[in-house]
Structures are given as structure tokens and as C-alpha cells.
């Protein structure tokens, strides 16, 4: 391919494990291939709903929102890649690049944003973490104020993780105005 940009050593963030791959951003869309074969991700430019940059420890993360609600995240970009890729993506895909900021303040309280099938936990107005609803195996209401999310855990994704996420629980106080519960619910 003559057009586009090629990047080596790009990680698929999320539950993809920690194996790097090669990423190609070309005028028709994006393609990522895991090193040594295996997983391949291809997104046509017609399916791209938006792109984001986020500065993460040591490197940069590119987020690609797909129109069906999925969101792929790739890490391992250098600072100089950001500006060149931004103009290329905006020009070829016709989307505007947004910049997200990672929250590092260390709080366990904040807001929740639901976008597509992504749940984003925001602390101090910045992004703390995101989980995909596709990875949620089960949700449960515990008591009146606690929402419990259980995640799929399987051997393929957990194989090269020392700690694999199993479940998390959010506490929504009665005073919360974003998610007002149904008082009649038992």
C-alpha cells in the first residue's frame, strides 16, 4: 500500500491482552494485526463514528469509535505520530479528532457516562477508565443503591494477565440526580 501510515508495536488495549501488533491507517480505514498471527481488526472508514487521542503513561492511545457502538483502543503511539495522524484521519475519514484526558487524581468517586456500549467512569471531569458492556456477563442490583457488574473471564484473555478483572460494584447514593431510582422497586 502506498497511502497511509504504518505503525509497529501497537497494543490493542482493553481485553485484547498484551501482545503487540502492526497497525495500518490508510485512506480506506484502519487495520490492526497481532504479531505472529491471530487477531485481526479491520474497520472501514464508513463505519468510523469518531476518533480520540488520550495521553496515557509513557505513550498515546488512539480510540476508534465504530458506528455499531464498539470502541477499539490502540496504545503505543509516539508524540510525533499524534499530529501527523490527526490530520490524516481528519482528512481521509471526515471525522474530527477529539482529545480526552486521563484522570490520575486517585479518587473513587465521580460520574458515569454511557456512550454506545461503553461505560466510562469519570473522576474530576476526566476519564478514569472505560469498560465495554460486551464484556459484562451479568449485572445485579444489590440492596437499593449498589450496582454490581460481573465480567466474562476466560483463559484466552486472562492467560497473560497477572490480575484479571472479575467484578466491580458501584454505589449510587440516594442523593444522586443522574440516575434516580424507582422508589417503588423492592
Amino acid at each position: 500500500m502506498t497511502d497511509g501510515h504504518l505503525f509497529g508495536n501497537i497494543l490493542l488495549a482493553g481485553r485484547g491482552g498484551t501482545k503487540p501488533g502492526q497497525m495500518r491507517v490508510h485512506s480506506g480505514g484502519i487495520a490492526w494485526k497481532r504479531q505472529g498471527g491471530g487477531k485481526v481488526i479491520e474497520v472501514d472508514k464508513a463505519d468510523i463514528a469518531g476518533c480520540t487521542w488520550m495521553k496515557v503513561p509513557r505513550t498515546y492511545q488512539l480510540g476508534v469509535m465504530v458506528k455499531d457502538g464498539l470502541c477499539y483502543k490502540f496504545t503505543g503511539f509516539r508524540e510525533q505520530d499524534v499530529s501527523s495522524l490527526t490530520s490524516f484521519i481528519e482528512k481521509s475519514f471526515g471525522v474530527t479528532m477529539e482529545e480526552k484526558q486521563l484522570s490520575v487524581c486517585g479518587r473513587n468517586w465521580g460520574g458515569i457516562e454511557l456512550n454506545g456500549n461503553m461505560l466510562t467512569f469519570m473522576t474530576a471531569g476526566k476519564h478514569a477508565f472505560e469498560v465495554s458492556m460486551a464484556d459484562v456477563a451479568q449485572t445485579q442490583l444489590q440492596g437499593k443503591n449498589d450496582v454490581f457488574l460481573e465480567f466474562h473471564v476466560d483463559d484466552t484473555t486472562g492467560a497473560n494477565e497477572k490480575d484479571s478483572l472479575m467484578d466491580m460494584c458501584f454505589h449510587v447514593p440516594n442523593s444522586n440526580t443522574q440516575f434516580v431510582g424507582d422508589e417503588n422497586r423492592t
Partner: protein, 135 residues
């Protein structure tokens, strides 16, 4: 607690000021950062930093060859919860209350639990000492 007093107080907790201050871990694992009194929690590709003062308790359980580590955080309205200014002040917010991880490396799990407990005790005793001195 207007944040200008110098030093960290529980009312003005900051784990990291800047993204670049966050330590980089190559492996997907819970990492206890003693120096910044924080714990980094891996959530689907994100390393979510939490200040130690948000941690209420840590437990671990081992069955067969899998270790389950559970971290419980301070939330408002829990019985017997010390009246922390953070949980009182932010009533409109949503809280991360609990999170658990499974690991096949039991040694790593017990190390994490030990390190978290020690750090928590250390910071808690320092904070209470400071509060005592202030009165």
C-alpha cells in the same frame, strides 16, 4: 483543607498531579505505589490509580490454584464508616465500592494484599496523628 496547606490531607487527596507521574507497568497487574501512596488497578487496558485513603479493606481468598483479591473502598452511608470528609462532601457522585480480581499467581496476590494493608495502616496512623496534633 483548602489544598494550600502543603502536604496531603485526606480532604484534598491527589494520587498523581500529572499523567507522566504514573509509573509504567508492563504487566497487567495490581501495583502498589508506596512513594505516591496509591494503588494502580488494571481495568481492561487502563491503569486506574486510587489513593490509598479511598481503600477501606483488602481481602484475598484462595481456592484451588486461583487467588481472588477483593478491594473495598470507602463510600458514604456505610455503617461504622469513619466520617470521612470526602464521602460526606460528594453526595451527588457515584462511587466505586468494590472490585475483585483473580490471579493464578498466589504469591503475587499475597504480596499485593500485604503491601496494600501495610501502606493503608501507615497512612491512616500518620493522618490520625496529624489530626490529634491539630486539636
Amino acid at each position: 483543607g483548602d489544598g494550600r496547606g502543603g502536604g496531603k490531607t485526606s480532604t484534598d487527596l491527589v494520587a498523581y498531579k500529572n499523567v507522566n507521574d504514573v509509573p509504567f507497568t508492563k504487566e497487567t497487574m495490581i501495583y502498589v505505589d508506596q512513594r505516591n501512596e496509591s494503588v494502580l488497578i488494571p481495568i481492561h487496558g487502563f491503569m486506574f490509580p486510587l489513593h490509598i485513603s479511598t481503600v477501606k479493606s483488602v481481602t484475598s481468598r484462595q481456592d484451588n490454584r486461583t487467588c481472588t483479591t477483593r478491594v473495598i473502598f470507602n463510600v458514604p452511608g456505610t455503617p461504622f464508616n469513619p466520617h470521612d470528609a470526602n464521602t460526606q462532601k460528594n453526595q451527588n457522585e457515584i462511587f466505586l465500592k468494590e472490585i475483585s480480581f483473580s490471579s493464578k499467581d498466589s504469591r503475587h496476590s499475597s504480596e499485593v494484599v500485604q503491601a496494600l494493608k501495610t501502606l493503608r495502616r501507615l497512612v491512616a496512623s500518620r493522618e490520625s496523628e496529624r489530626a490529634e496534633r491539630a486539636t
